[in-house]
Amino acid sequence: MLILVTDAPLDEKAARAHVARPGNGAVLVFFGCVRDRHEGREVRSVEYHAYGAMAELELARIASSVAAAHGVADVAVLHRTGTLPVGEASLVVAVGAPHREAAFRCAQEIIDVLKERVPIWKKEIGPDGAVWQEGVTPPLPPPRG
């Protein structure tokens, strides 16, 4: 598994190489990119802030549990931080699996859970200034009592 939260441009070739194996007939590489609009507002760039050490641990926890649930062995997740212009990749998820169904489902679920749990925040920069995106409260573990 390859997991990285970095302020450097994401290395999609490394992600692809990490999941490409002779047994993997399906190699999927997903890019999440900065969009020019959000909830009706014009967006010029997005600042990604992360709690880096925890974000990497959460990504590793998510990727391993989701991959195991889909019988997938080869996953890479890269997330960028810093200020990114429209069109720039903020997320790369690569999955290698023997067949496509598992690869697509696994990538989709990793991204769904990532958006609920990984401590990363977007601050949108638009023509009228900067605004934090609303976000999702991560599900809390149940009380121990």
Binding site: Y51, L114, K115, W121
Partner: protein
């Protein structure tokens, strides 16, 4: 009761509201997360409206409100996340 200082890391909008990436708060020794949140509400009113929607992490993992805090724990307030 002995009180111990807990450093709390702030992220995203919470860091902006506090104008700092970290605040220090005294809590009774062995206090739980919910007691820390109560103290933070009192000491940092700017954060108060955002604390109900924040998760808490201790030592890089999410914890429930009844988690007891120990000296040296790395405590962080995690406002609603928006990665991807």
């Amino acid at each position: 009761v002995v009180e111990v200082p807990i450093d709390v890391l702030l992220f995203g909008p919470l860091a902006d509201l506090a104008a700092s990436p970290k605040v220090r708060c005294l809590v009774p020794e062995g206090a739980r997360v919910d007691e820390l949140l109560k103290r933070l509400r009192e000491r940092f009113p700017a954060l108060a409206p955002r604390l109900d929607s924040a998760a808490v992490a201790v030592n890089l993992a999410y914890v429930a409100r009844d988690r007891a805090l120990a000296a040296g724990d790395e405590v962080a307030l995690i406002p609603p996340v928006s990665g991807g």
